[in-house]
């Protein structure tokens, strides 16, 4: 469900599909309302037909030609709009009223009422609409009223199911629980909470039902079951078909009424599509889209000079932007760090600090709107950002692997877990036999503490901790040198978290892995990390060995974070929070990112962004109030 349906009507006015659809419908509505004024002839007037006037081709007098009785097709077309629109609107109103009531009753009341109503809905659903409508209309009197009633009574089942599903979903939302906990009555819950949330969906559905009703009416009229006193478009087609338009070559008599139907139905469809887009805004991009703009706009050299000795992975001055409709967002700016074999670096920061963006950009896994604007990612001295896609794909997982956050979603629910691990092995070792792959998968699972036989099972059959272990096993599949773990224990209970941390530590010692451990939990950082990179608002606030960060934090944010962290070991520690909230990336302050919340901020801080300064051996921080320890020329260059 979208985050802000409150904005729906405002957004609707700007959506192209909605405007197009609404425009088409309004045009048709205008035609219908002002038909007597607009139509050249009154089709209801009796006319004497001659052989010259029957099926006359379009000319100056009859723009769309004449039909089988010599009447002007254009006039019939304009008047026909009245019937189609009337039937469409009123029939859909009936359908939606019935379906909406049944759906909401079933969804809200649940239990036996729900079952009974749904059984009834199913029974009506399986009887096909058009034949039923044919029977009902033919056996009663084909008047406009009857037709509207029949179409309305036949077409409510889709709405009922939709409304029921939506009511059930809304009923389970926390704010409804809260209202119930307060003691709100059923009536209040329905009118104040549930119905307003269901309404937008109902509006979209009404538009769809209208289009279906119009199509149904046209089919019924085509089959000769319409009200003869009100000629609709379907009726025009019926006359044309049964009175030789095909053999006479009178294409206008066939094209025009159909075009009218298509116009109105298309208008409804576009309107419905547009409204649905606003209501359930899909994420604009997906993971397989090609970016329309080049992903890396900075000039990249393949192997820049002075790669740091011993470093496995070196990131220099990495900057990432996101290009959105509202403007460009600087998600990461000028971040630098290096990683040695066997080192665990903690990447610490709160929501919106850019840590996920940073790690995704290391392997160029950013979404389509992401752009790397500066910096290099050196792996064994090779710049990963300069590699063509094919070569990078070979590096992915083989050298650097990611353990994603939220293992339930990061694993394909329809494939066995073992299969997904095997996939990685097969990709990077295509010559391995099936038996060898299976053995490797089993060994990997055992290594992380999962019985090998469970590789046949699916992700939903694993517990949370086990899923995380499976993700780790998968990451190890190709013996990478670097593992990037994105908040691997955040969703886990503390005892399971301890198990996972122990596992990671053991693996690091056994395999000599380097790990980037993303987290917001300072306790975990203190527990297993060797170095710490603290990020805030997309920039590196502090970067130092773990002891230095905890015992001599230099950046005011690090200070404040440590003070705010409830520390279990210190008995009477008062909690000090940081006033304000983390900056929103599309509205970053002009100077130091932390200045608005910093208790020591000066005028300089609000005006200029500080650079990353070296303030101790291996200790870097970006704050105007600090003294650099050594002159520039330190291995970690200043960001451009």
């Amino acid at each position: 469900m979208s985050a802000a349906p409150a904005n729906m009507w405002r957004n609707a006015a700007r959506n192209r599909l909605v405007l197009a659809g609404a425009g088409m419908l309004l045009f048709a509505l205008g035609l219908a309302m002002f038909a007597p004024l607009l139509a050249p002839e009154d089709p209801r007037r009796a006319l004497l037909a001659t052989t010259y006037t029957i099926y006359a081709a379009p000319d100056g007098q009859h723009w769309l030609g004449t039909d089988d009785a010599g009447r002007d097709v254009l006039s019939n077309l304009i008047f026909g709009a009245r019937v189609s629109l009337t039937v469409g609107f009123f029939a859909s109103f009936i359908s939606v009223a019935i379906g909406g009531s049944i759906g909401m009753a079933a969804g809200y009341l649940g239990g036996a009422t729900d079952r009974a109503l749904m059984r009834f809905t199913d029974v009506v659903l399986v009887i096909p609409d058009l034949p039923l409508a044919i029977v009902l209309v033919a056996l009663t009197k084909p008047s406009l009223f009857n037709i509207i009633l029949v179409i309305g009574l036949v077409g409510w089942t889709g709405t009922a199911r939709l409304v029921r599903a939506q009511t059930l979903a809304v009923k389970e939302r926390k704010f409804v629980h809260r209202a119930r906990a307060v003691g709100a009555s059923d009536l209040r819950l329905i009118t104040r909470h549930i119905f307003p949330m269901v309404l937008p969906l109902l509006v979209v559905n009404t538009v769809l039902v209208t289009s279906l009703a119009i199509l149904e009416e046209s089919a019924l009229s085509f089959l000769g079951l319409s009200d003869p006193t009100n000629v609709s478009w379907g009726q025009m087609l019926n006359y044309a078909f049964s009175r030789g338009a095909t053999s006479s070559g009178a294409w206008w008599a066939l094209l025009a009424p159909g075009a009218g139907i298509v116009w109105v139905v298309l208008g409804c469809t576009l309107l419905g599509y547009g409204l649905e887009q606003i209501l359930n805004p899909r994420v604009k991009s997906h993971h397989l889209m090609r970016a329309s703009i080049p992903r890396i706009s900075a000039v990249q050299s393949a192997s820049p000079a002075e790669a740091e000795a011993h470093a496995l992975l070196e990131v220099r001055g990495l900057s990432v932007d996101f290009v959105a409709q509202q403007g460009t967002v600087h998600a990461v700016q000028g971040v630098s760090f290096s990683l040695r074999p066997g080192e665990i670096m903690g990447l610490v920061g709160e929501s919106g600090c850019g840590k996920t963006t940073l790690i995704l950009s290391l392997l160029r896994l950013l979404p389509a709107a992401g752009r790397i604007t500066a910096g290099q990612v050196l792996y064994h001295g090779r710049n990963l950002l300069a590699l063509p896609e094919a070569q990078l794909a070979a590096v992915r997982w083989k050298e650097l692997a990611i353990v994603f956050q939220g293992a339930m979603n990061a694993l394909n629910p329809l494939l066995p877990v073992g299969r997904q691990i095997a996939e990685a092995v097969e990709r990077h070792e295509p010559s391995a036999t099936a038996a060898a792959v299976a053995q490797r998968v089993g060994a990997l699972l055992e290594q992380v503490g999962i019985p090998a036989a469970r590789g046949r099972q699916f992700a939903h059959q694993y517990s949370g901790g086990m899923r995380q272990r499976a993700m780790i096993a998968m990451a190890l599949a190709c013996n990478p040198k670097v593992i990037i773990a994105d908040e691997p224990t955040t969703a886990l209970d503390v005892i399971i978290q301890a198990q996972i941390l122990e596992l990671l530590n053991a693996l690091r010692k056994e395999l000599g892995l380097a790990v980037i451990f993303v987290t917001h939990d300072l306790g975990v950082v203190a527990e297993i990390c060797d170095t710490v990179l603290v990020m805030y608002g997309g920039v590196a606030a502090e970067y130092a060995p773990v002891n230095a960060v905890f015992n001599e934090p230099q950046h005011p944010y690090t200070h404040a974070l440590l003070a705010a962290f409830p520390d279990f070991s210190r008995r009477h520690k008062a909690l000090v929070s940081i006033p304000g909230q983390p900056p929103r990336l599309h509205a970053l302050p002009p100077g130091c990112r932390f200045a608005p919340r910093c208790s020591s901020a000066q005028a300089l801080c609000h005006a200029h962004q500080p650079h990353l300064l070296r303030v101790g051996a291996d200790h870097y921080a970006s704050c105007h109030l600090l003294q650099p320890m050594l002159p520039a020329g330190s291995p970690l260059p200043q960001p451009a």
């Binding site: 059984r119 029974v123 399986v126 009887i127 096909p128 058009l130 034949p131 044919i134 029977v135 009902l136 033919a138 056996l139 009663t140 289009s211 199509l215 089919a219 085509f222 089959l223 379907g234 087609l237 044309a240 095909t246 066939l254 159909g258 139907i261 298509v262 139905v265 298309l266 469809t269 599509y273 899909r282 994420v283 604009k284 991009s285 997906h286 993971h287 397989l288 896994l365 794909a393 070979a394 992915r396 997982w397 692997a401 990611i402 994603f404 979603n409 990061a410 694993l411 394909n412 629910p413 329809l414 494939l415 996939e423 990685a424 990709r427 990077h428 099972q457 699916f458 939903h460 059959q461």
Partner: protein, 344 residues
């Protein structure tokens, strides 16, 4: 066994629905106005005695349902009629013996009539649906993968326009163009008089008669399947496991084949199966335009003649086919989705 129970439960539910449909079906044609005897019999000079005789022949003189006021307001007296003698019971009894009744109009068993017509409709529908499914799914995948590019917009617009067309109108336009400019037949299933020709000629003729109706079917349903597949695929491609697959170094093609398609197929199956159930009924329009002797046409004709047994039989068949299609789709879904089979 979990899935065994699930299967039984679903089958039972389907049977229950069939039961309700049966009863609803029965009452539908009894409640509607119009005396079948008078409407179905052609002779306008029918005497009262003859009417009564016909009523007796078709069992129309028996009460519909025990003690439910049989729509004759003049009826009085206690409802002590043997329930086994009511029309409802007779009808259900017959059904269980596989007898659908006898057509008022043709005097042949409904089962025979409906079976023949059903086959014709199935032939008409199959090719069109098969093509529509394959092309629609392929098109939807392509459009989703190339989302927001020109290919996508083109596919989207054409599908939306095609979806907005009434089926019969598309048939009319194709018929007009086909018969006037492409030399295709104007209707029917085969050219009369070719019954004596060789098999190859007959086959060619049959195919020529199928081209336009199939094309109509394909275009309309292709549009629907494309739109649905596109939106399902867009959702799937935004999921986290797609990113994981990409991070593993798999190529775009591999990710589409091994992860995206499999996951998107699941919801599509239900929709396709539901559609298949309704397609036979939807063929009414196409059969009318192309004069195809199928079930849809049978319904249309029987309405005019008040031939209730045929209508009842046809409706029941249609409803049962939808229920069965749903059940199969349900079972297929259960078989394919591991989350249903073995819950956490």
């Amino acid at each position: 066994m979990q899935s065994g129970r699930l299967l039984l439960r679903k089958a039972w539910s389907a049977l229950l629905t069939i039961g309700f449909v049966l009863v609803l079906n029965f009452f539908l044609f009894r409640v509607l106005p119009g005396d079948p005897a008078r409407a179905g019999i052609k002779d306008p000079r029918m005497t009262r005695a003859a009417q009564i005789a016909i009523h007796q022949r078709f069992g129309l003189d028996k009460p519909v349902l025990n003690c439910l006021a049989s729509l004759n307001p003049l009826r009085r007296g206690p409802c002590l009629v043997n329930p086994l003698q009511t029309q409802l019971f007779i009808y259900i009894n017959n059904l269980l013996h596989g007898e659908l009744g006898i057509s008022y109009h043709n005097k042949i068993p409904v089962g025979e009539l409906v079976r023949a017509r059903l086959w014709n409709t199935a032939v008409l529908v199959s090719a069109g649906q098969a093509l529509a499914i394959v092309l629609g799914i392929a098109g939807g995948v392509l459009a989703a993968w190339q989302a927001h590019t020109r290919i996508d917009y083109a596919a989207l617009i054409t599908s939306l326009v095609a979806w907005s067309m009434p089926t019969f109108w598309l048939g009319l336009i194709l018929l007009f163009w086909g018969s006037r400019y492409a030399g295709l037949p104007i209707g029917g299933q085969h050219t009369p008089g070719l019954a004596a020709a060789g098999t190859v000629d007959q086959l060619r003729d049959a195919v020529r008669h199928l081209v336009l109706p199939t094309l109509t079917q394909t275009i309309i349903y292709l549009a629907e399947y494309l739109l649905i597949m596109r939106s399902t695929m867009l959702d799937v491609l935004a999921e986290d496991y797609i990113l994981t697959a990409k991070a593993k170094g798999l190529s775009t093609f591999q990710v589409l084949k091994d992860h995206a398609l499999r996951n998107a197929a699941l919801p599509i199956i239900t929709i396709v199966a539901l559609n298949l159930g309704f397609t036979v009924a939807g063929a009414v329009q196409i059969e009318a335009v192309f004069s195809w002797p199928g079930l849809g046409q049978a319904i249309y004709e029987s309405v005019a003649r008040r031939d209730y047994p045929v209508l009842q039989g046809a409706f029941l068949l249609l409803a049962i086919s939808v229920i069965v299609a749903n059940l199969l789709a349900d079972l297929l879904y259960t078989w394919l989705d591991p989350r249903v089979q073995a819950p956490a």
